[in-house]
């Protein structure tokens, strides 16, 4: 099946965290996944979680320069969701009914394995962040997650100038790094 330029553009834009692209892919594919999950012993929440996790896989793939999209986004998402949902069903030992068939599925096992690895790394950082406490957590999030500059951060947290905020940020960073590597060794 040929992949259109438009499809490839959409795929790249997902990797750039483009809101419009996310919305387009969401609109196009959500109900398919929703039907699939709900018709296979899932709930509304399960459908959302599975779909969003598949979107994460798509995002990670899009950011890899060497990855080449070989099928339509819809097929890819469906394949990932199917795999993820089956795994979850097996894991929770819910009654496993025959999962309905779909005409086209691609192999995604390796991609999901890769995704699980990234998720573990993400969780390592998340746990370290959870342990660092306030105000460090908010300070570091403001800089690295919300990408605020030091001047904005200083104003937000009530520091008198950007330099003081910066010093505090680095003090927090040193602590976070210790927590992160402690967590990293445990994992």
């Amino acid at each position: 099946m040929a992949i259109t330029e438009q499809e490839l553009g959409l795929f790249k834009a997902i990797g750039n965290n483009d809101k419009g692209a996310i919305e387009a892919v969401y609109k196009e594919n959500y109900s398919l996944i929703q039907h699939f999950v709900i018709n296979n012993n899932g709930t509304e929440d399960d459908a959302r979680d599975i779909f969003q996790e598949a979107m994460m896989v798509l995002y990670e793939k899009s950011r890899l320069p060497e990855f080449e999209l070989t099928c339509q986004i819809r097929t890819y998402l469906y394949s990932v969701c199917r795999r993820l949902w089956l795994k979850k069903l097996q894991h929770s030992r819910r009654i496993e009914s025959q999962v309905e068939n779909f005409d086209r599925i691609v192999q995604v096992e390796d991609d999901i394995e890769e995704h699980d690895k990234l998720t573990r790394q993400y969780q390592t950082m998340r746990t370290a962040m959870g342990k660092i406490g306030e105000p460090c957590k908010s300070l570091i999030e403001a800089f690295y997650v919300h990408r605020k500059n030091m001047l904005e951060i200083a104003g937000f947290f009530g520091y008198t100038n950007a330099d003081n905020a910066k010093n505090q940020k680095y003090k927090c960073l040193v602590r976070l790094k210790k927590l992160f590597f402690a967590q990293y060794k445990n994992a």
Partner: protein, 367 residues
């Protein structure tokens, strides 16, 4: 060099913010100092992970927002339940009503036939009248009975030491509520009472005395979860002077109050809370603080005794934090906080009408 200063130098080196000269000097130092070299390698990995972490968080938040936007615009709809489940649901929902109706019918029938056997052998004239009176009495009785069933009898055992603790509000339709941790101090049993006056048994899921927040869950078969909460939660800092309002139970009935944000920090510069100028009384603790968009910005928890109208609220980012911690520690707890309010843009009176159903009185039975 202090640790944090080193961190700054390394980050500048890794992000390429150094000028060529500085960079050469730093690389020379790296070569001659294996310890520094190791630190740089560590930071390189750490900052890379930090970068990924940030990217994933940004992407996730976009996904979350998109889901809500599409749900609100109706482009994503919940699927209707399949027929089988719908009937089971209806049975669950109306089981009580059916039981009450059936027992009233049963009692009435027995009573009438009992009356019949007692009165039939006697002289017919007066007795018929009497019987009619009795029946109408009975009717009154059974309508009283019905009224009583509808009135939600209190579930709290008589003689229990009830302290009307405070206020709580729902954060997830599955029955999760938050309140102030101090409200639950010494609690043996906790009940929450809805605005309709119905009591539900609840249990503590988690409490954080430091931030003064507790999550409780309604654990009562009579509780019917709402489909969706009308309000969302915001992490964004509220501006000084911005209007806020709250709902709470300083008395047996829900009470509304409004005020404004007067300081971004709480008592003695506490950054976890903020200061609000509003009228609050004992019992308001644990109540939600909303901004004009109907988003929760905090939880009321204390007032300053020496000053009038100075009230402190725990910021809502602590709720986010607590929910995230809970998710990590217990996989079964699945609390989702809404980011956006569906009551944004409608007037205050209408907002309050929608919000009040989800604000509960907390009754604490002391152990």
């Amino acid at each position: 060099m202090e640790q944090f200063e080193l961190a700054e130098v390394v980050e500048r080196y890794l992000t390429g913010e150094m000028n060529p000269e500085e960079q050469r000097a730093f690389e020379e130092m790296r070569k001659n100092n294996p310890e520094l070299d190791q630190t740089v390698v560590e930071y390189h990995y750490f900052l890379e992970q930090m970068g990924h972490y940030g990217e994933i968080r940004r992407f996730k938040s976009n996904l979350y927002d998109t889901h809500h936007t599409l749900q609100e615009s109706g482009e994503i709809k919940e699927l209707p339940l399949t027929t089988g489940t719908r009937i089971v649901n209806m049975w669950n929902k109306y089981r009580r009503v059916v039981a009450v109706a059936a027992s009233i019918a049963g009692i009435t029938a027995l009573f009438i036939s009992g009356m019949m056997t007692i009165f039939t052998p006697k002289a017919p004239f007066r007795d018929i009248e009497e019987l009619r009176r009795k029946v109408s009495n009975l009717e009154k009785q059974s309508s009283n009975q019905r009224a009583e069933f509808n009135k939600f009898k209190t579930k709290i055992a008589p003689g229990s030491d009830v302290k009307f603790g405070g206020t709580s509000f729902m954060i997830d339709p599955k029955g999760y509520l938050v309140t102030s941790a101090h409200v639950l101090k010494g609690a043996k049993k906790i009940y929450v009472q809805s605005i309709q006056g119905e009591d539900f048994l609840a249990e503590i899921v988690h409490q954080d005395a430091n931030a003064d927040i507790a999550v409780i869950k309604i654990n009562d078969q009579d509780f019917q979860s709402p489909k969706q909460l009308p309000y969302g939660f915001t992490r964004i800092q509220t501006d000084l002077s911005e209007a806020v309002y709250t709902l709470g139970y300083p008395k047996d009935e829900i009470v509304y109050n409004e005020g404004y944000l007067s300081a971004r920090t709480g008592l003695e510069g506490d950054t976890m809370s903020c200061q609000i100028t509003i009228t609050a009384n004992p019992g308001n603790s644990g109540g939600p603080v909303f901004n004009k968009n109907g988003e929760v910005i905090g939880i009321l928890n204390a007032r300053q005794a020496s000053a009038n109208g100075v009230v402190f609220a725990t910021k809502s980012k602590n709720i986010f934090h607590l929910v995230e911690t809970l998710k990590e520690s217990d996989k079964d707890i699945n609390i989702k906080l809404r980011n956006s309010s569906s009551i944004k843009g409608i007037n205050r009176t209408q907002q309050v009408k929608k919000v009040q159903d989800h604000v509960y009185m907390v009754k604490v039975v002391l152990g």
